[in-house]
Symmetry: D3
Subunit: 289 residues, 6 copies
């Protein structure tokens, strides 16, 4: 009996946080390890369903890197990379879209429904949610990246309506080109743009590292909080590099467009989302204005 | 860290129950010990606020016995009892109303607001919520009970509107007589009538005993579930007696008017409400059709 | 027959005034004599119900001075005054709250319902309507006034909703302190703050004098209209003094926060409210910007 | 001053009647003398505007007999009558429609607006309000009555919307034939059909006689109340005859389709409408089920 | 079969135009020849009903010149003109109003209903839609024009509501004077004011000439597009004269108050409205800012 | 010019049909040839967008047979058939889902958006739209068909909301099993169930044959209309066979659940949909109750 009572204590401890986030929109990017490990995958969606039930409005954006690679391998389609970006031919784009929209997105929808969400999967083509065009490299763009895209405009009407009607939107990061062609866009960047367009309270990027490290080679050098300016310096210094760059850029973009707080969390920590939202214990790295 | 994660586990365990009760109305009678002990009093209102945040619509009815007696003592007003009912003269009625509406009700409102509810206190006169008339004794009514009342009609409009507007209604069991006079009505009975009028999913009577005992003298003879018919037999047998009678009658009235389940819970158990709603562990006695 | 027709003429004469005030909010402070004399008390509520029926939105604030004093006497609790303010100990505050909220407020609710209003009584704790803190004396505050409060903030949501849902709100001037403690606030001042917060068209203070007199000792020196500046001069000159000061301050506060007109009326005049609203015959004193 | 106070008394006396009719629809046929005498015409519209302001939903149907005759005379168009019905050729119908819709209806709209109503004039063609076909005489129909019509169907959508939007509808009794042709319909009958279609609480026919007389030749034989059955007997007996027949039939039709009470009132009595609605003094004849 | 398929092709060609005008308000002045020729009259209303069905919100304003003259002739009422304006005595005004409101307006309503619109006819008195006063001549006003009016203010509430409720408003250009008197206003000018008040996307004046000619005497000198400035110069030069002046002024007024485009079209061209809205083929003259 | 005017004539001819179908839901199955031939594919979506613009609510269900086969071939996955049904292993199911949801559905969404629809693609998992279980063969089910499913329940909430919000829903015929597994369901059958659940006015199955033939070997033996009973006889007689069976069963299911009319149309005919809806010329076979 005492045990059960202690559990009730825990529920009640969450009350101040429920109060704080009720009715707020939180955009959650869910990718990397958090999506591959089945147990974590389920747990994240259970946590998100809980958020929904206590009055928060989560919007999920998912990536799909590993499953895409797997599928390309399986069908023996080779792909090249340039500056970390997969050069996306028409053939590859078709596989990418099928995997993201027709496989990963629907798995997430199924899982979320299992826990009691009314999940609806959409991609950037649905209701023209994400208008996209060719990704512009910073350097002179001598390489044709194919259908690697960037966000040109967000038309959030479909998400606004789904939120009002109490559905849980799950977004696949496919962009719609002007002529109906598909674009493969980095999910972190999509999440940042959506957070800005939805005027979200928080942007949370769930990943498979602990957060931003002061010293890449030292796992215990986690930086728990950093400003846009500090982040920019670290990117210049190459202390922030690789896959962390789009994450940090997504945070900066969101912050500059009205999102209050952005977080890069370690999806491997059980209930990382709930810990971030329902406790004072910061985990991962928070980027703020 | 592990500790915090375990807490998140607990939140997630509550999810199936949130799903089950979302949007449902639960009428909670809150009296006896649960109101005298300060710690329990606070805890009950924190639990109720939690219910509100996870999408349940609680409606609270409170009693006030001990504080009324205290106040009458303080002002040296004597009162007599007949069959367990306080004979309520005009003078006593005035004190009863002031204590219930002007003291206890407002304390509860304050406490609920402290935890983040938007609580509004009403009594049976507000919006003519509870129309009342003289209480009819079963036996020939040779004693004038004064302003002891019974529910004649519930006009639930004010509660319906408060629920829709996301307020938490706190009801003092004062009835409105035809000519504006006040009636003192047993809070258990008011709760039963409100549960019926609001088409509540559950009626919960929080009290300071463990529930209905098979053998009054044996605390370990708690009956965890019983039907209307069984309850009636036990009342005939006088195995259910005293203050338990209005509670059981309230349950029967509610059940016969469409409420699905009714419970008599021990308010001294910490988080009794949450245990009942968020776990499978039945506590107290459930009366069902 | 002619008699009846003349009555109909009277109804029709009121039409231009109905047109003028339809959909407007009018805050009415109702205290002093208007509350003690039973006939006037009823008449005021009948008049207010009429206002409600012709499309005006009245909000009532009541005081309770005489009844509070009576009750304190009855229970032999002594109280001291400082600069006209009752020093309010915890024990006295409890009585004040019980009398205002549990007795006077509910009597008014009952009476208003009798005439066909759907009246709902609230105090400053309900929905945190009136946030209060310690009253600040102008002079150096060497005396501890106890729970004498002043308005810190109005959260008018509950009133807004009650008005939209066609209820008649009756407000008891109890303030909610930061820690749930109760404050006794001058009802005139509460009325002024509510009029400002509700963006009322009119503030009417019903009292038991004829209005503001040019010469305190001469009842026929009634000033029918005066500006804020003139009122301030008269307060400086002590020509406005005593209980008239909070009334005038309430008017000034309301006017400076957008209320169009404020009136100090003699509640002893039958139908004083209707005369003010439905005729061109000014009665009492109007304070304007 | 006393005089003004007495006027306020009168307003307050009307309160119980306001309570009774608030939100109710009352269809008022307004014709005959009530329309010709300018003073009465104004007075009726002022009374109706008052009804609107105290929360009643009046719908006006007007006739136009005398003005139509005048206009036909002026333009030297002759017309014949058969059984009291004007034989309506195409040429006459055009005049009838122009007078009813383009003259009388707009005069009424203007007058009502003058008193503060938001009046909108419609005829049976607007939104296809009144579908009509050829009037069927009881006797074998050997005479071609031309465009004399009867109500085939009411499409009340436009009136429902105008009422919800707080407009005052003024209906000219022109019916729309299947091929867009116009029909001249007795305004009493139109009023009865509208009362039925709108589920009105009352149908009031304002006319220029005192009501139904027991003895046609004796003005003091007014029957103050009569049932459908009694009315039918009186029509059989020819004690009800002439222009009173469509009025009584209109009442019967309304009563048989759910209208609670119907009245034939003397429009020459000042404020006849207000006397009927706001006093207990019955005037004219009430026909009930 | 091929024939039918080609017809479907035509429907599909209209799609981009439907997309463009969906939900937009278009004010259409419909007068002159378009109203006299029966075939064109029907065709215009069929076209307008089509607009309604494909999601456009048309508002019709009609004139009535020829029918008014005919009626005055028929009743042998003579009228004089001054600068092209009919001097409107009280007697003439009465005829004008009856013809416009009671004849032409209702014919248009009937026709529109026949094609499936839910048409409602209103004039400037309904809901006080068009407040008017005496028309001011540019020159010193030595002539009393009688009830020739100009628009003082538009109260568009009734039109706003009719549009929202999916009705088709048909407006007769009668203005309401301050004392309920009627004014005869040029329908072109009314249309321009309504377009401005309704924030219309387009104002279309259907007339019986081809548009504005560069050379009055040369029908092939049609100007397909012209700016406000150019139009003003042409009016100064008297190259725009007569009945074209109020049309051009109406366009200018509309354009200066936010209407995007204005058109003077030849109502004799079959489906002139549809050609303008559903094709790229400009017909008539477009006046733009 | 005459040419353009004739086109306008065509628009106007469609008006009676617009009137008839405004606000009605029409479920359109779109598969077979209509989906492979690019020109037809585009044309169908343009037609559907037109329907949307004229106030009809189309809901599209698509199949994907040929593209699925192509993809399986490309990846060298072999599949077997039993009684015309593809035995669907887990591996095949994954490909089927990716192709239907991630490729075909999104192509349709893109195309519809290109024409101006606000298209949203969903599959049976989104909002649990289509609950499915194992397909039951009529014969004893000795063969394991794998993930071939049948509709167990439709939860149409997501479609209801999308329709109200003016989106165009595009449904991929994937069913959601109880444990989140995917089912491959015949698109014709899904369309029939959706039509029933949405209370559609019409079900239209676009296919690549002319309709139901009286004599399979004679293309000119098209049956233009047939009842449920007649259809059942023809299925018994094997005159209706193969892929036509699920189509006919879908029609029967829809008709028995309240859909008014069902059609099997030849998608190869240009604008087949528009011809069916906007002309009286029946094409294909209509199945009715």
């Amino acid at each position: 009996m005492n045990d059960v009572i202690k559990k009730a204590d825990v529920l009640v401890e969450a009350l101040p946080y429920m109060r704080k986030f009720q009715g707020k929109t939180i955009v959650i990017k869910y990718g990397g390890n958090a999506m591959v490990n089945n147990k974590i995958k389920e747990s994240v969606l259970e946590d998100i369903t809980l958020l929904k039930y206590v009055g928060v409005n989560p919007v999920i954006v998912h990536g799909g890197g590993p499953v895409i690679s797997e599928t390309l391998d399986k069908f023996e389609i080779e792909s090249e990379f340039y500056q970390g970006l997969r050069i996306t031919t028409k053939e590859i784009m078709e596989i990418v879209e099928m995997v993201l929209v027709g496989k990963i997105n629907k798995e997430i929808v199924s899982l979320a429904n299992k826990f009691g969400s009314k999940a609806i999967g959409v991609c950037g083509k649905d209701g023209n949610l994400i208008e996209a065009d060719d990704y512009e490299l910073n350097s002179k763009n001598e390489v044709d990246l194919g259908y690697v895209g960037q966000v040109k405009e967000i038309n959030s009407e479909i998400l606004d309506k789904l939120i009002v009607d109490n559905f849980l939107p799950i977004v696949a990061p496919i962009g719609a080109g002007e002529n109906g062609e598909s674009y493969n866009i980095n999910a972190d960047l999509v999440a940042g743009h959506l957070a800005a367009a939805l005027n979200a309270d928080k942007l949370i990027l769930l990943t498979n590292v602990e957060g931003i490290l002061g010293d890449k080679n030292n796992n215990s050098s986690l930086i728990s909080s950093l400003t846009i300016d500090e982040a920019k310096i670290m990117m210049n210094d190459k202390r922030i590099a690789g896959g962390m760059i789009p994450k940090v850029n997504s945070c900066i973009n969101a912050l500059e467009n009205g999102v209050r707080r952005t977080h890069i969390l370690d999806g491997r920590v059980p209930h990382a989302l709930l810990l971030e939202i329902f406790t004072d214990r910061g985990i991962g790295t928070m980027v703020t204005k």
